[in-house]
Amino acid sequence: MDDWKDFKRVFLTLASPGSFWLLVFFIIPMAFLFVLSFSSKAIVNGETSTTAYDYFNTFGNYIASAGTSYLVLLWRAIWTSAVATFVCLVLAYPLALAVCFAAPKWRPILLLLLILPFWINLLIRTYALYSIFRSTGVVNQAMGLIGLGPYEMLNNTSAVIMGLVYVYLPFMVLPLYSTIEKLDRSYLEASLDLGASQARTFWSVTWPLTLPGVITGIILVYIPCLGTFLTSDILGGPNNWTIGNAIQNQFLEANNWPFGAALSFILLYATFIALVIRALIAGRSKGVDA
C-alpha cells in the first residue's frame, strides 16, 4: 500500500467522486434528518407553519415516539424480523449444506436456483405472493376444489413473516453457502471418526465453525426486515404495520416530518445495535470467514 502523500493527485482524483457523492447525497441529508428529529414546526403568526422549523429545540419527538402505539410498532418490527430471520436460517442452513455437499457439477445450478429470485423486483415478488394468497387467489381456489376455505390468509402477522422469508431467503443462503463451502470437510470427518454422531458433529464442529457465516446471514436478513415497509404494507395491512410504515406515514400523509425523523433515527439506532452485537459475537468466535 502506498502513502497518499506520495501520489497526491492520483489519490485525490480517485477519492473525490465517491466522497463528494457520499457527502452530498448521504451524509448531509442524514445530518439534516438528525437535526430535524430534535426540532419542531415553527409557529409563524400564531399558526403552525408547514415549511419552517425551529431547530434543536425539543426532545419532544423522541418522547412522543415512546408513546405506546409507536413502541408497539417498533417492537413488532423487532420480533417479526427475528422470527423471519430465524425461519430463513432454519430453511437456508440445510439447503446451503446440501448445495455444498452436492456433486460439483450440480453446485452452481442448485445455488442459482436458490438465489435467482433475488434478481426479480421485490415489489413484483411481493405482489406475486399477494395475488396467490388473497381470498380469491390460486391457493384458496385450489382448496375450494377439495371443499375447504376460502381462508383469509393475508392481513396477519404470519403473512408478513412469510413475505419476509420469501423475499430475504437468498440473503441467508449466500453467506451460509460461502462459509460452508470454505469449511474443510475433514473437520466433520474427523469428528465422525472420533465417535461423534451426526447431530453431535453438527453442534460441536459444523455450527461453531460456520458461525461467522450464520451471523453475516442473520445481519443481512434482519436489518432489511427491521426497516421493512412494503411487505408489511401489502401483505400485512394497516393492523400489521411496523415502524417502517409509521415513518412513511409521517412523511407522506401525517406530514409531521420532525416526528418521522425521530422515528427514523430510532430505527437507525436499532439497526446499529444489531450491527454492534454482530461485531461483538464475530470478534469472539473463531470460524471460517464468510
Binding site: 447525497f25 448521504f26 434528518l33 455437499f101 429470485p117 415489489l123 436489518i223 415513518i247 427514523s264
Partner: protein, 280 residues
C-alpha cells in the same frame, strides 16, 4: 442418526438425504410458484384466480397504457445511468481504499459502507427532505425527460456505488502487485500499467458490480418513492399504486416483461463474466 450407511454413499452426502431433497423441493416450490402463477395469469382473460382462457390482451393493454410504459422506460433509463456512474465511482473508491494509506482511513471505510446498512426508508426520507429543502424536488419537475429524473438518479448512485466498491475491492484484494512491478520493469508507464494490467484484472468485478447496481436500481422502491416528484414515476412505484387499488392482470403482464428483462440481463452478465474468471 446412527443408522447404517447406504452402499456407495459416504456419511457426509447431505445432498442425497431424502429429507433435505424434500425440503429443497418445497423451498423451490415456495420460491417459484408465486412467480410462475404471476406469469401464467398474465395470460388469463380476467383477474379472478381461476383460469378462464388464454389471451395476450393484458400485454397489449399495458403496452398501450402510457403510464405503465412511461414508468418502465423511466426505470430502465434510471437503472442504466445510475449503473454507469456507480460503477465508475465504486471502482474509483475501491482503488482508493485498496491502493492508499491515508489518515482516518477506517472511518472513511465505515462511511462508505454506511449506505449499505442504513435502512432504505431512513435514507429515502433524508433524501426527500434534502431535495425539498434545496429546492431540487420542485426545481427539476419541469425539466425535459430524462433530466426530470435526475434526483432519482443521484439518489440511486448514492446507494449503489458502495456496493460496487465492495465487490471491486474484494477482487483487488486478490491482485498480485508484482504484476504491476513486472509491467513497469518491462518499460510501461504508470498509466499504461493501469490500463493494461490492473483494469483487465478488475473487469469481472466491474461486470458483477455493475450488474448488482443495475438490479438494485431497477429493484428500488423505497428510496425512489421518496425522491421522486409527482411527474417522475418508476415502474415499482407505479405498480405499488396499482396494487393498492387491487389486482389487475396488466400488472402481471408488465411484471412478466420486467422479469424477462432482469433475468436476461443477469444471465448475459453471468455469461460475460465466466470466461474471464481465470484471473483468480
Amino acid at each position: 442418526m446412527n443408522a447404517a450407511l447406504k452402499s456407495g454413499q459416504g456419511p457426509l452426502e447431505y445432498a442425497r438425504r431424502p429429507w433435505i431433497i424434500i425440503l429443497f423441493g418445497l423451498v423451490l416450490v415456495f420460491l417459484y410458484a408465486p412467480i410462475a402463477s404471476l406469469i401464467v395469469f398474465s395470460f388469463n382473460v380476467d383477474k379472478s384466480g381461476v383460469w378462464h382462457g388464454f389471451t395476450v390482451m393484458n400485454y397489449v393493454k399495458s403496452w398501450h397504457n402510457d403510464a405503465i410504459f412511461q414508468a418502465l422506460t423511466n426505470s430502465i433509463t434510471i437503472a442504466i445511468l445510475s449503473t454507469v456512474f456507480s460503477t465508475i465511482f465504486g471502482a474509483m473508491t475501491a482503488l482508493t481504499l485498496w491502493r492508499f494509506r491515508f489518515p482516518f482511513k477506517n472511518i472513511y471505510e465505515g462511511f462508505v459502507a454506511l449506505p449499505i446498512v442504513v435502512p432504505e426508508i431512513c435514507m429515502g426520507i433524508s433524501l426527500a427532505m434534502f431535495f425539498n429543502y434545496t429546492g431540487m424536488m420542485a426545481g427539476v419537475r419541469d425539466w425535459i425527460w430524462p433530466f426530470n429524473l435526475i434526483n432519482i438518479i443521484f439518489a440511486h448512485i448514492a446507494f449503489c456505488f458502495p456496493f460496487v466498491a465492495v465487490v471491486v475491492r474484494a477482487r483487488l484484494q486478490g491482485f498480485n502487485r508484482q504484476l504491476e512491478e513486472a509491467s513497469k520493469d518491462l518499460g510501461a508507464t504508470e498509466l499504461q500499467t493501469f490500463t493494461n494490467v490492473l483494469v483487465p484484472f478488475m473487469v469481472p468485478s466491474l461486470v458483477a458490480g455493475g450488474l448488482l447496481a443495475f438490479t438494485l436500481s431497477l429493484d428500488d422502491f423505497v428510496i425512489t418513492l421518496f425522491s421522486s416528484g409527482p411527474g417522475s414515476v418508476t415502474f415499482p412505484v407505479k405498480i405499488y399504486g396499482m396494487v393498492k387499488r387491487g389486482v389487475d392482470m396488466q400488472i402481471n403482464a408488465a411484471s412478466t416483461v420486467l422479469i424477462a428483462i432482469t433475468l436476461a440481463a443477469t444471465l448475459i452478465a453471468m455469461k460475460l463474466q465466466s470466461p474471464s474468471k481465470s484471473g483468480h
